[in-house]
């Protein structure tokens, strides 16, 4: 599903965020990216949806090399990837329903698709009854559920999550992890960067550890270390 081959990403001549990184994520897998601050986790995630381009190497997503993909093809690529962030990135002036519907609207989905898929995904993330609330009327955990619903409403092949539990207290974070696990269970590939030792240790999934732009560990059913 995702394959990086000898990828090097520099932000400037001194800042080498990723240094000759190769790794592969098969369809349906759940991968944790761990490593100290600045080790390149976010950079790696941004390469997958072409928010960044590497200086060297190639990035394959869903069978396509996306490094030299022309700009007008990128929207299509991104429709296959759901993104989840530490700060949720919800639109504050839109309700829960509107936030999720927005993701379908802007890729030109017709109204009947929206009115069918949005309630389904709201149900999936456990927010039924809170459709008309605004983000500020929700707890952090609930906001993160909205952001997951928005990322997943389009049934993407891949979910990419950058420290999704970073702003949440431990028990709320665990709820989010159960949700991501359920989504992973439907066949969606999940790649998640995290600092949260407890979560990594509890889930026991594949762990890829980065340090200063290099993969220093890649372990099936791993721990945070």
């Amino acid at each position: 599903m995702i394959r990086l081959e000898n990828v090097t990403k520099r932000y400037s001549s001194e800042v080498v965020a990723l240094d000759d990184v190769s790794f592969e994520v098969p369809k349906g897998e759940f991968v944790f990216l761990v490593g100290p601050s600045g080790s390149g986790k976010s950079t790696l995630l941004r390469l997958i949806n072409r928010q960044e381009r590497p200086e060297e190497g190639s990035v394959w997503v869903a069978g396509r090399d996306i490094v030299d993909m022309p700009n007008n093809r990128i929207p299509q690529l991104r429709r296959n990837i759901g993104n989840i962030f530490q700060d949720y990135k919800l639109l504050l002036n839109k309700t829960v329903f509107e936030n999720i519907a927005f993701a379908l609207e802007v890729i030109g989905q017709p109204q009947h698709v929206i009115s069918q898929q949005v309630p389904a995904v709201i149900d999936l993330v456990g927010l039924s009854g809170k459709e008309d609330r605004f983000p500020h009327q929700l707890s952090g955990g609930e906001q993160q559920r909205v952001s997951i619903a928005r990322a997943f409403v389009n049934r993407p092949l891949i979910l990419v999550a950058d420290e999704p539990t970073g702003n949440l207290d431990p028990s709320t974070g665990e709820g989010i992890m159960r949700l991501l696990d359920r989504i992973n269970g439907t066949g969606t590939t999940v790649v998640m960067a995290t600092h949260d030792r407890r979560i990594v240790d509890a889930m026991r999934r594949r762990v890829v550890q980065l340090d200063r732009g290099v993969i220093v560990r890649d372990q099936e059913r791993g721990v945070y270390q």
Partner: protein, 300 residues
């Protein structure tokens, strides 16, 4: 359908959010386009005023109305004698031609115009001299032609033309300067309004890009907003221009007939063409301003 609704909703919201900048853009665009339109109108008015002197004509010999071809032979002989000496060429402007000249000259004074008919209008010989700067020679000619039978009067261009074309040049230069400066400001403003609108919505845009919206989908509502501002400015300018032109035309009627202003009006439909041009121009700066901004700041 869904897309269209989305677009208009977003455009409306965006305008609502930042009314001052939009209002300022529209005002500036409107004033700029108004001055632009007025410049065209004034030019046209001056052209009317100067129309009878077109083609290097420096002297007009007015012939008594009702003077037939035989009676004009004397005049044509006199003109013919000078042909090649001081006169380069001359042409006869008959009743129909003189009436159409009067249409333009008295455009602002329909009362006076209505007193001129096929029966009483003087016809004209329009004379192009060899050397227009030799005013003394022309004055000599005038005095000689005034003696001829059936000559109603003789007018020299220098008495009128010089002042008017100087005024025209002066007025157009500076009004053009003003509208160009304001047009630059209006474009920058529309550009800026769109930039500000996009900046205000950078979170939306970020999310849109992440979920895979195409650049055009993101760009269009903003371009629509710019277009709307330009067109609104153009429409306001058109209405103001139409109003000012109407007031001026009404004012000119009240001027003394000999004030030389009666031709300085535009009532021949040209004002509608200018109105259309002004709106199109507004649309153009709106689209260009917003289009550049939307393309440039899509990478927020």
């Amino acid at each position: 359908m869904s897309r269209l609704r989305y677009m208009f909703r977003e455009t409306g919201e965006s305008i609502r959010r930042n009314p001052t900048l939009s209002v300022a853009s529209v005002i500036t665009a409107a004033v700029s386009l108004l001055i632009f339109g007025l410049t065209l109108i004034i030019q046209h008015g001056f052209d009317n005023l100067l129309s009878q002197w077109e083609g290097g004509v420096e002297m007009i010999v007015y012939v008594n109305s009702g003077a037939g071809e035989e009676q004009r032979v004397v005049i044509e002989d006199a003109l013919g004698q000078q042909q090649g000496v001081t006169i380069e060429s001359w042409s006869y402007c008959d009743v129909a031609c003189s009436l159409s000249d009067a249409d333009r000259l008295f455009a602002g004074d329909p009362v006076t115009r209505s007193q001129l008919t096929e029966l009483n209008i003087p016809t004209q010989y329009k004379v192009v001299p060899l050397d227009a700067t030799q005013v003394d020679i022309l004055r000599g000619l005038r005095d000689r032609y005034l003696e001829l039978p059936n000559v109603y009067s003789v007018q020299l261009a220098e008495e009128q033309l010089d002042l008017i074309s100087k005024l025209q040049g002066f007025v157009s230069t500076y009004t053009t300067g003003l509208w160009i400066a304001l047009m630059v400001a209006a474009s920058l403003l529309i550009w800026n309004t769109i930039r500000t609108a996009m900046f205000a919505r950078r979170r939306e845009i970020e999310v849109m890009k992440l979920v895979g919206a195409t650049d055009w989908f993101i760009r269009l509502p903003f371009m629509l907003e710019g277009l709307l501002q330009g067109v609104t400015g153009g429409a306001v300018a058109s209405v103001a221009m139409w109003f000012i032109n109407g007031r001026w035309t009404a004012g000119v009627e009240a001027f003394p007939a000999n004030s030389g202003m009666t031709a300085l009006v535009v009532v021949d439909g040209y004002e509608w063409r200018v109105g259309l041009i002004v709106v199109l121009f507004g649309a153009l700066i709106g689209t260009i301003g917003s289009g550049t901004a939307a393309s440039k700041f899509l990478d927020v």
